[in-house]
Amino acid sequence: MSEQADKLELTPDSFKRVGANDTDAQEKISAPSLTFFQDAIRRLKQNKAAIISFWLLAIIILISIVSIWWTPSDPNAQHVAYANLPPKIGNGIPGFTGQANVGGQLVDKYAQANVPKGTYYILGTDYLGRDLFSRLMKGIALSLLIGMLATLFDLMIGVPYGIISGWRGGHTDTIMQRIIEIISSIPNLVVVILMLLLFTPGLGSIVVAMGITGWITMARLIRAETLTLKTQEYVLAARTIGESPFKIATKHLIPNLSSTIIIQTMFSIPTAIFFEAFLSFIGIGIPAPNASLGTLLSDGQKTFRFLPYQMWYPAAAISIIMIAFNLLADGLRDAFDPKTNN
């Protein structure tokens, strides 16, 4: 260690006592402060997979909304003469030529079926000659709708249940948890199937059937979170000054629970979509002739070996939607709860 630094130019002025800088100024925080949400969104933006998923889902949702009013052709209209036409775009581009391999030979199915020139089906037609592209649009819309309605159901039961159970504690909590325990030990699949056997199959019964079991996870997460929040100082303070439980719930609990709710919502939508697909696949889902991703997959599977395109596109669609939701949910979870995965 050097004892003297001679290199420095020292003047008598150098040794004038000036004291500390303005310490008040130092106490100011130099970086702009971010709220919890701004910070989470900043972290989310760094997650490329989540952002791509977000835009992908936005586009898919937009297409679904469009499909309410417009599809290229009537998704339920049958043209038996045009059954099982392969995909074709314009006069045929690679992959969408309208030709099929029959016994080792490429055959122009459109010519065979005497489809007028200029008429083509982007994703082909099914065994009843229905336009698969239109059906896929409708199917995605219906599946998303089911996913969202079922999740709404989760929210409406699960969130209040979790908050009440966690907040009240004691006997209320014990009883409510016991109920959850019993419901959750019945395989939810069985409940859903029993429900669907009982009610007439359709959008409403599927959503209700899934809702009956789906809220359990949400309720559990919300309860656990509420238990932690309950002991936080600011909540204790609110209770001490006598704020009403309802006001505490809306002012302190809901905002702090929102990240849990958002993340769980993002996980339940794909779960519900999957479940609908599964139910339709085993034949108790959305009734014919309506299309959902599940019914399209189920129809496609029957002829998959010979007409693979009929399953290819719905399979790709459901996979992409599921992957996008899962990636976005993962991204949100990491963004809201940075300690879990950094």
């Binding site: 325990e181 029993l194 794909p270 070996r305 996979s319």
Partner: protein, 312 residues
């Protein structure tokens, strides 16, 4: 611990009782006739049948008879499948389901643990990316889509495996892989999160400070601590497997209980649906109980204090 297990078994029986009751009355509400060929039967024949199966008795009495039957394993008679007893129907079909289920859960958890552990150790490396990719694919692509793809490419196009039917081990490979995807994804994901947590803990740093090499640290300290919580996800995975088995068995034409369940649903075979519901519920409840007991046995914090959730 003994008292705890006893209490849990008590709850288990209560749960099963509630499920049995609920299923019974739901089935009574079901529309449609229990007989496959009722249209061809005369009223007299129906009355005889009803009498034979006890369906002419008051509902509550039928309920008691049903409960009594359950106690000694009598699940009723299937009216659709050659009037066989449901228990016989299940017994003859449970073998293949169990085989595929066990194979899938073993394959899925082992690979998942491996993948999750490596991903956590090599966090943010390409291994992690690959593992994350598999985990996302595994839980995003529905297993029936996966099953159909496997069937199409590996069996139909490449002829590596039998397309369907149940003819020994080779025909169990594709269904096993299709079923294993979900547990694999779940385990890998869970294992990674747990292991990342454990690797960031003070005792891991202390283990390194003792002179353990990174791999020794993982083998001696990190692995066990992250594996213990993995036991808890066996329950949810069992549910996934049950769901999966229904479609996968159907796609690969495997004579298992999942396939039977789907068939019973499409033919309104209520007594079989009821029997299988009880079977699935019992399996699930028992699995959850075993997992809880197992967890208590392998986690010293629970084992010795005799209560759940002591400090970490």
């Amino acid at each position: 611990m003994g008292k705890y297990i006893l209490k849990r078994v008590g709850y288990m029986i209560l749960t099963l009782f509630i499920i049995a009751t609920a299923t019974f009355f739901l089935m009574k509400l079901m529309p449609g006739s229990p007989y496959a060929n009722q249209a061809k039967m005369t009223t007299e024949q129906i009355n005889i049948m009803n009498h034979q199966y006890g369906l002419d008795k008051p509902t509550f009495q039928q309920y008691l008879i049903y409960l009594g039957g359950l106690l000694h394993g009598d699940l009723g008679t299937s009216f659709q499948f050659n009037n066989q007893p449901v228990s016989y129907l299940i017994a003859s079909r449970i073998g293949p389901s169990m085989q595929i289920g066990l194979q899938a859960i073993i394959l899925g958890t082992l690979l998942g643990i491996l993948l999750g552990a490596i991903a956590a150790i090599r966090k943010n490396s390409w291994v992690d990316t690959v593992a994350t990719f598999f985990a996302i694919i595994g839980r995003s692509i529905p297993n029936f889509v996966f099953a159909v793809l496997l069937q199409f490419f590996l069996a139909f196009k490449l002829h590596l495996f039998p397309i369907a039917l149940w003819e020994g081990f080779t025909s169990s490979i594709l269904p096993t892989i299709a079923l294993a995807m979900a547990p694999l994804a779940t385990t890998a994901r869970f294992m990674r999160t747990e292991m990342v947590d454990v690797l960031n803990s003070d005792y891991i740093e202390l283990a390194r400070a003792k002179g353990n090499t990174p791999w020794q640290t993982v083998a001696k300290h990190a692995l066990r601590n992250s594996l213990i919580p993995v036991v808890t996800i066996i329950g949810p995975m069992a549910v996934d497997l049950m769901v999966g088995s229904m479609v996968v068995e159907n796609i690969f034409s495997i004579p298992g209980i999942g396939d039977q369940f789907v068939k019973s649903i499409t033919t309104n075979d209520y007594s079989t649906i009821m029997g299988l519901t009880m079977l699935y519920s019992t399996m699930l409840v028992v699995v959850i109980l075993i997992v809880d007991i197992l967890y208590g046995l392998i986690d010293p914090r629970i084992r010795l204090s005799g209560s759940e959730g002591s400090q970490s």
